[in-house]
């Protein structure tokens, strides 16, 4: 299992990175933490001519509160999601999901930008982009653009990123005083890709759900926001009745396929159970 040969460049700025890509015929990959890309290269499932190592671009680092958004640099490692005080305070759902990302050593290398750029539907962070209402900051030859998470995930490993574009940051609206959140997943072993996982972020006013977003992972080709289930809850008190309604509505939101581990029917069942447990946690007084 040795990767095919490739050339390698180590840009220091976003502009250098973009031009390094432009200098190829499109057969290049950006690499940050590489925790998904390197095994794909070792297995020769991917074999780009060139790797562009963005790990040395200072501008992609750091977490800051800018205006009404928390800006999380693309190179922010999964392990930092667990410890960064700004993330813990303003984007706590990411901190809550982070321990479920693979294993400690993977979290020491893997980056939020890499995970969201790859958009693995079984990964935690892409789905949490939906749940937290994040925006994806994308730099390209024509400048910088922001794409709401709802528009970002398109199909299996397909995102709004155009070839050569670089994901540079994640922008998250900080949680408000009435917001609650919860994340959980059902994985066979600690750190495995989950059979199903979900994050919820909700605004509760006097026990009634003013707004909420629920996003699932491992249920389809993309991370999935479950609009029907959300509709079944919005405006309602968070109680056994509304939770049951949301669980029932979930079937219309999800369209999982059979796979070697779990048939679709079981995934749907597990998604209902998981949603019930998450909402139950949310309903309990903090």
């Amino acid at each position: 299992m040795k990767a095919r040969a490739f050339s390698y460049v180590r840009p220091r700025t976003v502009a250098e990175a973009l031009s390094a890509f432009a200098g190829t015929d499109g057969d290049a990959s950006y690499i940050a933490g590489g925790q998904s890309l390197v095994p794909a290269l070792a297995l020769r499932l991917q074999a780009p001519d060139r790797l562009i190592d963005i790990a040395h671009i200072e501008a992609l680092r750091g977490v800051s509160l800018t205006g009404d958004r928390l800006r999380i640099g693309a190179l922010t490692r999964h392990a930092e999601l667990l410890t960064d005080p700004l993330i813990l305070r303003h984007a706590p759902l990411l901190s809550e999901a982070a321990p479920y990302i693979a294993h400690p050593a993977i979290r020491n290398r893997g980056t939020i930008g890499g995970s969201v750029a790859l958009a693995d539907p079984a990964s935690e962070l892409p789905a949490m982009m939906l749940a937290t209402s994040a925006e994806i900051e994308i730099s390209g030859p024509d400048g910088v653009r922001l794409v709401p998470a709802d528009d970002y995930f398109q199909d299996l490993y397909q995102t709004a990123l155009e070839p050569g574009e670089l994901l540079t940051a994640i922008l998250v609206p900080p949680v408000g005083p009435d917001e609650r959140w919860a994340f959980d997943e059902l994985a066979r072993r600690r750190g495995d890709y989950a059979l199903v996982g979900a994050g919820v972020q909700a605004t509760l006013v006097d026990g009634t759900i003013a707004r909420l977003r629920i996003a699932f992972l491992s249920v389809g080709a993309t991370p999935v926001r479950v609009h029907q289930a959300e509709a079944a809850l919005t405006g309602a008190p968070l109680d056994a009745t509304s939770i049951a309604r949301a669980q029932a509505a979930l079937d219309a939101d999800l369209d999982p396929t059979d796979d070697a581990q779990v048939p679709a029917v079981t995934r749907r069942h597990l998604a209902r159970v998981l949603l019930g447990r998450l909402l139950g946690r949310l309903a309990r007084p903090a």
Binding site: K2, L186, R189, T266
Partner: protein, 791 residues
């Protein structure tokens, strides 16, 4: 107040003591030397082009482009290697009627499983070899894929290989008689169908081999991650036509084996051939993806079985049908039949009943070969027996412990013979059963279970009794014609400064062989353990023997070393007696000193004996030729196997909404005879249990209809990891075998033998209130939800 002195309080009393392993610090410091660490001058690297199809005809191979790539030194096909290597066939004479197709290092015209190596590439680096392997063009013509064990046996079924007449590798029937009549008249009959997934060993160190052929001397040296270097010395010699004395197989540090590293693999034979063809060292280290498609798999059984009892719950009879799929040919040289054979011979073994019938069908299919993997057949036999026993207990209205107490062969009934014909010297089921019940606080667990159920928490308790085969005599393989030694050898020598080296044929894979041999030699000789160095795993140096399999290291290797040390001590005391003008019988050797047996007064040191023997033989009495090196060989006689026994308990919690199982705790009581090192025994048992729990809950090689392994990576084949495994409590009963002086049986497979059965019973106990039952291993969340009717 002084504690009473025990056997362990004598000087040099190491047998029975939990001493640490002398080789541990080396491994802990990153100084292990595994085959993949070895680099020889001008060494090349091999990679293989593998079949993408489970069954296909090879219609053309084009290596021209690959051969021209940078760093490529040799490309070999099946035809190239067939010129220097004779074929092998994995059959044994005592399995009457078994058949299998002959094998070559690489196939000539047909591939029979997806992942089979077809073309070998040798290059300066592994990466370059892989680059060239991608450029080799092979034309295949797809053939029908035989997968399902029932379809494979159907009349007129497609054949898994062109060189066999049908897909039946082997069939046999054991019939102790009158089974139908007993069932017809029985008060209770319970029956079940159990399915056991395909598992594989997943040693952390993949298969590795470094073959170094020197044409100037016709000398082949193979550094091989194997359990059985002597077996491979024989095989390489015979199949490549080399003088056996000029074939040296060295097994350095081995990164786990568990039975997987004693079979003949096509790639290993190819690598030896490649080194012969090119006259340079060639190294091949399987990567993990290759390991999953080419290491032996195991299990993969479907067993239908029933058990009859009288109205009081006394077992009367068992009736069993086992069908197992083994791949497209039988593994060499041990065959793929042994597992099924052990399944049908071990079922029911702990229990007292006479009427037993069992059929076995071993079936060819287009999957990778199956063969012996830790606890061969035991987990299946144990699960079938113990599941039926639990069902029968419920039918008779008896508690699982009470039912077993009623039916187990009594501890005072030995020697006894099982319904399947195994002769047991002495087992200890009753005392083990009672010990387990106390250890796990069974009554407390039942109370907890009842209370938890009122809260909607579903815990289950499962137990499983087992009998394990260890210390096999030549009855195991020798009578079948295989060159697999049932004996082992030890050479023990005193160095001139009075230290000791022991060369022994049993090998070390981390289980602690070198440690226990050192303990035995030090104790029997009467020297400090630090003065004994144990050397294993080199056919040029260590004596010939069976090495590591079937839990024989302690029982056979240990006895060999025991007797060698005893003989050497006699020699030492003989020389000392000559020097001291004393009677050897009046002397003893304690802590490196020759002492007077009566009173213990020191007379001279072992070092002084050695100094005189080696350097001043002129002062010895005339005719005295000091023999300070002793060789000894030992093979079991008497009972054909040393059977061990024990019982395991498993406590689980089943999330009935998700089907997830958490193992809360696991207990083992085992009887491996004389315990040489309790810490090592415990850790063998723990590791074995975890392999059994992995099988019970996680591990399975999944194939699609095209014969493709769909989960052949460490991300997809779920091995047990730290978070999912419980703490394991272990208790011991010691019933030494009287067939040897040492009295040790084996312990390496006991943990695996019954862990999955205990877990199966525990999960079934947990879901019993839902009228649900599961009979399939691994018990995945989906299968449990299905059993519960939730999906």
């Amino acid at each position: 107040m002084n504690a009473p002195l025990s056997r362990l309080d004598r000087p040099n009393s190491y047998i029975g003591r939990a001493v640490t392993r002398p080789n541990a610090m080396r491994l802990l410091s990153g100084r292990g030397r595994f085959v993949s660490d070895l680099v020889l001058p001008r060494m090349l690297h091999a990679a293989f082009v593998r079949s993408p199809y489970a069954h296909a005809r090879i219609t053309g191979i084009d290596t021209a482009e690959a051969a021209a790539m940078p760093g490529v030194r040799l490309i070999a096909t099946g035809a190239d290697l067939a010129k220097i290597c004779t074929p092998w066939t994995g059959t044994l004479d005592h399995f009457k009627g078994m058949k299998s197709s002959p094998q070559l290092p690489l196939p000539l015209d047909e591939v029979v499983w997806a992942g089979q190596a077809v073309v070998a590439v040798v290059a300066d680096t592994r990466a370059a070899a892989e680059d060239a392997a991608e450029a080799v063009l092979i034309d295949f013509e797809e053939l029908a894929v035989v997968g399902d064990i029932d379809a494979a046996r159907a009349e007129g079924a497609e054949r898994a290989s062109g060189s066999i007449d049908d897909n039946i590798c082997f069939k046999t029937l054991i019939d102790a008689g009158a089974v139908d009549e007993v069932f017809a008249g029985a008060a209770h009959v319970v029956e079940t169908e159990l399915r056991f997934g395909r598992h594989t060993a997943v040693t952390l160190e993949p298969r590795s081999i470094l073959a170094d052929y020197d044409p100037s001397e016709r000398q082949l040296t193979v550094h091989h991650a194997t359990q059985t270097p002597y077996q491979f010395q024989d095989l390489y010699s015979r199949h490549f036509g080399l003088a056996e004395a000029r074939v040296r197989v060295i097994a350095p540090d081995i990164g786990g084996s568990f039975g997987m590293k004693l079979h003949v693999y096509h790639e290993d034979m190819a690598v030896v051939g490649l080194s012969i063809l090119i006259g340079r060292p060639v190294r091949y280290v399987a990567d993990r993806i290759e390991a999953f498609v080419s290491d032996i798999h195991a299990r993969d059984h479907r067993v239908r079985a029933r058990l009859a009892t009288d109205a009081e719950g006394t077992i009367l009879a068992m009736d069993v049908d086992d069908v197992t799929g083994v791949g497209a040919f039988s593994t060499y040289p041990r065959t793929s039949v042994v597992e099924g054979n052990q399944v049908i011979r071990l079922i029911g073994a702990p229990y007292r009943f006479a009427n037993y019938r069992a059929g076995l069908s071993v079936v060819f299919q287009n999957k990778v070969q199956t063969s012996q993997y830790r606890a061969v057949g035991h987990p299946i036999a144990c699960a079938v027996t113990e599941r039926l026993v639990d069902l029968a207990a419920a039918e008779a209205g008896l508690d699982p412990f009470a039912f077993r107490a009623k039916n187990l062969i009594s501890d005072d009934a030995y020697p006894a013979t099982s319904a399947t014909g195994y002769r047991f010297e002495k087992l200890s089921h009753e005392v083990c059963l009672a010990r387990l019940k106390a250890m796990m606080d069974y009554d407390g667990l039942r109370l907890d279970q009842a209370e938890a159920r009122t809260r909607g928490v579903h815990r289950g308790i499962g137990i499983a009794t087992f009998v394990e085969i260890t210390n096999p005599s030549p009855a195991f393989y020798g009578i079948g014609g295989a060159h697999i030694s049932a004996q082992d050898g030890a050479v023990v020598k005193i160095t001139p400064s009075g230290e000791v080296q022991c060369l022994v044929s049993v090998t070390e894979q981390g289980q602690g062989t070198e440690t226990i041999i050192g303990q035995i030699v030090a104790e029997k000789l009467g020297v400090d353990r630090d003065r004994v160095k144990v050397i294993t795993g080199d056919t040029d140096i260590t004596p010939h023997g069976g090495a590591t399999w079937a839990c024989r290291g302690a029982g056979i290797g240990g006895e060999t070393a025991f007797q060698a040390a005893k003989a050497l001590k006699r020699n030492v005391l003989g020389i000392a007696a000559a020097i001291l003008q004393a009677r050897a019988d009046d002397l003893d050797l304690i802590d490196g000193q020759v002492v007077e047996q009566a009173g213990g007064a020191p007379r001279m040191s072992l070092a002084e004996v050695a100094r005189i023997a080696y350097f001043r033989s002129d002062i010895l009495p005339p005719g005295t030729q000091a023999q300070l090196t002793v060789a000894h060989h030992f093979a079991p006689e008497g009972y054909p196997f040393a059977f061990t026994n024990g019982i395991q308990g498993c406590h689980v919690e089943v999330d009935v909404e998700t089907g997830f199982v958490k193992v809360l705790k696991h207990w083992v009581v085992e009887d491996c005879g004389t315990i040489i090192n309790p810490m090592l025994v415990d850790e063998q048992v723990r590791g074995g249990v975890v392999q059994g729990l992995g099988a019970a809950l996680f591990e399975e090689c999944l194939y699609d209809d095209n014969g493709q392994l769909t989960n052949g990576s460490l991300a997809d084949y779920l091995v047990p990891m730290a978070c999912e495994m419980p703490d394991i409590v272990i208790g011991h009963v010691e019933t030494p075998t009287k067939d040897t002086e040492l009295g040790a049986k084996g312990c390496g497979e006991a943990g695996t033998a019954a862990a999955s059965a205990a877990a199966l019973n525990a999960v079934n106990d947990a879901i019993a209130p839902f009228e649900a039952a599961i009979g399939r291993i691994p018990m995945t969340p989906h299968r449990i939800l299905r059993a519960l009717g939730r999906v």
